[in-house]
């Protein structure tokens, strides 16, 4: 199963990509986070301060993912 992962701001800089299709075996947000932590060990620190959105809605930790979902990694916002 593949989900589209979008990175923004400091997360984009730390992970080094804006957009990437990611294969997930565990179809959950937790599964995706685990994959991100293992693929990008130096980026682990930032994940704990980020929120996540699935298909443009803020998601909870126990969110389930479906094929083609868009998951955004959202560092602390600072608009306005």
């Amino acid at each position: 199963m593949t989900v589209r992962v979008r990175m923004f701001a400091s997360a984009r800089e730390v992970f080094g990509f804006e957009l990437r299709d990611v294969p997930v075996t565990d179809p959950s947000l937790e599964g995706l986070k685990t994959w991100l932590r293992s693929e990008f060990p130096s980026a682990q620190g930032i994940l704990s301060s980020c929120r996540f959105a699935v298909n443009m809605e803020y998601a909870r930790g126990d969110a389930e993912l479906k094929e083609g979902d868009e998951v955004a990694v959202i560092p602390p916002v600072s608009g306005g």
Partner: protein, 142 residues
């Protein structure tokens, strides 16, 4: 009216978007770039957004405002890219019959935008360094 723009915000256009003949009040807020942040001298700010979600989230906030206060119209315009000193990064306007609800709604919008909308600012300092802003208590609660 909800808009993200790379250009200088036309404040008059934002005011016109909300003014109605039934309105006795139009409350206007401008978030402007100031020259200091946490004791460091700032040269400019640069804004980035998750645009589709930012518009959606601002739209939700506007709906919440209409639900909670008897306002007439609401306009929110946020600028992206570089915003020099004294220029506005965000302009919010609310119209209503009386000023009480316009003041309250306008304040709610900026406070909530700062907590929820996926937009980020990068502070470019006079010393040449730059850093993604971390929101402070003042940012969120004024």
């Amino acid at each position: 009216m909800t808009e993200l723009t790379e250009h200088t915000i036309d404040v008059k256009k934002v005011i016109s978007a909300v003014t109605t003949e039934a309105s006795g009040a139009v409350d206007l807020f401008l978030g402007t770039t100031r020259n200091h942040s946490d004791g460091k001298a700032v040269r400019s700010l640069s804004y980035e957004a998750y645009p589709e979600m930012a518009e959606k989230e601002i739209g939700k906030i506007v709906q919440e405002v209409h639900y909670r206060w008897p306002v007439h119209k609401v306009a929110v315009v946020h600028r992206l890219g570089d915003v020099p000193l004294t220029e506005a990064s965000v302009v919010i306007a609310v119209s209503s019959s009386h000023r009480k609800e316009a003041f309250e709604a306008c304040r709610y919008i900026i406070d909530t935008l700062k907590e929820r909308v996926p937009i980020w600012k990068k502070e470019v300092f006079e010393d040449g360094t730059s850093e993604w802003a971390r929101s402070t208590h003042e940012d969120i609660h004024g």
